[in-house]
């Protein structure tokens, strides 16, 4: 048993990476489904074990092939890593179960094994980005997850999904190459790729123009991947036209992992002192965040497609996390991490409910969904609950993390940041209200609801689990706040 525990960091990546191709080799839809859900369960168990270990103050270090750290590739799991791992693997399990339902019945049965394989490769890449402590390895996993994400998005029902996937591919490849260039410049100055080692050498040598350029390329590259405000161009189309279950998966994992990498590199590798104070990156991030908070809800309000509307809301919510990162304090990082977790819960619930509605009615147009709430009660009430969480009504998870974010800003003396946070929340109340009004009050423009399409168990089960979690953590936020605080502390400890 002790043997297995030492190997957990690598198993977190290897299990989906090896089992994914099995889906294609076996070529059977039923078997592929069993493999996918089993993998998701195994991965959640592994990350729960890792979290249990880190809660006792342990730091897992795994050296690939037994090669010692600066030469070999090293995987490292501390409090922050375990926190992100548990978030994305929880979302992955629920999304995998949801994916078995009728949300995406446009994907042909023969294409299903390949779809499941891409799905597992995507989550393998995301887990790899989180556990790896080697800068180049992070890039490789970034590309594994990105390439499979393009495939997943292109499976959407509408031909526009192809365009969305193509545009994301071009932007994503440019972003990833920027990250690669940044890693190259860092290697040029330090001669190492290990993140801990890099951090030590940069702290001793101090910065020069090459390191500054590396920081600039890295921030732009990872900003594209995380959907940070002015670089978010791919996000609304990619989320809007991807298959419903893929939107659920991406909203809860992909951008979150990119934000984790941003946090890790800015705070640990470059050092918060250098990246946020010596370079004026804190100002840049805060300005981007404020613009995102205020403008994205306006775009959401003008949107006629339900999924694209919530995609714009994701852009707004990512801005809150970017603001937490830009504050540069441990409290700010903790608030960003808590918002990352809470937003994952809420947005996954919202996109699942949206997926159920779209699969039942066959349309994503908001004006065609009038009065649907009287037919699909469960999905619409969870959508409403998720919407309240997005606004940040007291008693929901959104309130807890926004409150922490504002208090972190006040601690730093930037009390005026409360104004855009409040304004952004009010603006999101406007578009949530619009949805509520349509779903409940408006008469149906066309009677779309096919009778005899009740919600299936694989759809309501993950939806109820995630809603119950969001409800519980909204009323009693001590557990996730403690985890986020521990994660932020481990970030600060590694930085020293």
């Amino acid at each position: 048993m002790a043997q297995i525990i030492n190997h957990l960091p690598i198993l977190q990546v290897i299990v989906p990476l090896l089992l994914g191709p099995f889906c294609v080799v076996l070529g059977h839809r039923g078997l592929a489904r069993i493999i996918m859900v089993t993998t998701a369960v195994i991965m959640l168990v592994i990350s729960a074990m890792l979290l249990g270990g880190t809660l006792q103050g342990e730091v897992f270090i795994y050296q690939l092939g037994g090669w010692a750290a600066p030469w070999g590739i090293e995987y490292r799991v501390d409090g922050l890593t375990a926190f992100v791992l548990i978030t994305i693997n929880l979302v992955h399990l629920l999304a995998s179960v949801f994916c078995l339902g009728r949300a995406d019945d446009n994907i042909a049965a023969s294409a299903r094994p390949v779809f499941y394989c891409a799905w597992l490769l995507c989550i393998a890449g995301l887990n790899g980005m989180v556990v790896s402590n080697d800068a180049f390895n992070v890039f490789v996993f970034l590309e594994i997850s990105s390439l499979s994400t393009y495939v997943l998005i292109s499976c959407g029902r509408d031909p526009k999904a192809l365009l969305a996937a193509y545009r994301y591919l071009v932007m994503g490849a440019v972003g990833a190459t920027f990250v690669l260039l940044s890693i190259g410049l860092l290697y040029m100055q330090t001669g190492t790729l290990n993140i801990t080692d890099l951090a030590g050498i940069i702290a001793i040598r101090g910065s020069d123009r090459t390191v500054v350029m590396a920081l600039a390329f890295f921030t732009i590259g990872i900003g594209i991947k995380s959907g940070m405000f002015p670089l978010h161009d791919w996000l609304p189309n990619a989320y809007g036209f991807a298959p419903n279950s893929v939107t659920v998966l991406l909203s809860g994992t992909a951008t979150k992992v990119a934000l984790y990498v941003m946090l890790r590199f800015l705070y640990n590798l470059f050092g918060a002192e250098f990246s946020l104070i010596e370079m004026p990156l804190d100002t840049v991030l805060i300005i981007c965040a404020i613009l995102g908070m205020l403008l994205a809800p306006i775009m959401a309000l003008r949107e006629s497609n339900l999924k694209r509307m919530f995609a714009w809301s994701s852009v707004a919510q990512i801005s809150y996390m970017v603001m937490g990162i830009g504050l540069g304090s441990t409290a700010g990082a903790a608030a960003a991490l808590l918002h990352l977790f809470n937003h994952s819960l809420v947005k996954v619930a919202v996109f699942m409910a949206t997926g159920v509605l779209i699969a039942r009615t066959g349309t994503a147009r908001i004006r065609h969904l009038g009065g649907v709430a009287h037919h699909q009660r469960f999905a619409c009430y969870t959508l409403l609950f998720g919407g309240l969480g997005l606004i940040g009504i007291p008693g929901t998870v959104g309130f807890v993390s926004k409150w922490m974010l504002v208090s972190a800003a006040v601690d730093k003396g930037w009390w005026w940041l409360a104004i855009p946070v409040l304004a952004g929340s009010l603006a999101s109340a406007a578009y949530i209200w619009r949805i509520v009004e349509t779903l409940w009050a408006k008469p149906a423009e066309i009677d779309l609801c096919k009778p005899g399409a009740p919600i299936h168990i694989v759809e309501w089960l993950p939806l109820s689990v995630i809603t119950a979690l969001a409800l519980w953590f909204g009323l009693n936020a001590s557990f996730p706040s403690e985890l986020a605080a521990l994660a932020a502390n481990s970030l600060a400890d590694t930085g020293q």
Binding site: F139, V151, Y166, V174, G184
Partner: protein, 129 residues
């Protein structure tokens, strides 16, 4: 990090200048081109420029190829080359996937020009059967 090779003398930071030039050309093609295939070509140029930067920094003055040989004492650094092998594979995969998407876009829309797709009156399926 001098770039001067043992056989031919390369003046100053020429490799880096060339790499930056190619990088900018590639990026301009990605941004400016309406043709989706040309965009991908630009993307390839852009990636190749980054590869060139990596290869250049692996070069050690008067260093030989990193193959163990009793006659040689100075070797070039093989690590950037290995990294770039991986990055090339990634680049090939990205290009292949991009081209596959362009083929399917062409089937769905009948064109590979972005502005023509935007101009097309979209017969958006209001209700998907």
């Amino acid at each position: 990090m001098s770039v001067a090779g043992d056989g031919m003398a390369v003046p100053g930071l020429l490799n880096y200048w060339v790499a930056v030039g190619v990088l900018v050309c590639g990026l301009i093609m990605v941004v400016d081109s309406r043709n989706m295939v040309k965009k991908l070509i630009g993307l390839n140029l852009f990636q190749s420029a980054v590869f060139l930067i990596f290869i250049t920094m692996g070069k050690v003055s008067n260093g030989s190829a990193p193959i163990l040989d009793p006659a040689v004492s100075t070797y070039s650094n093989p690590l950037p080359h290995v990294l770039i092998l991986t990055a090339i594979v990634v680049g090939v995969a990205t290009t292949a996937l991009g081209l596959a998407l362009v083929v399917r876009i062409r089937r769905a829309y009948g064109t590979i020009y972005e502005d023509e797709i935007a101009d097309k009156p979209q017969v958006e399926p209001e209700i998907i059967p």
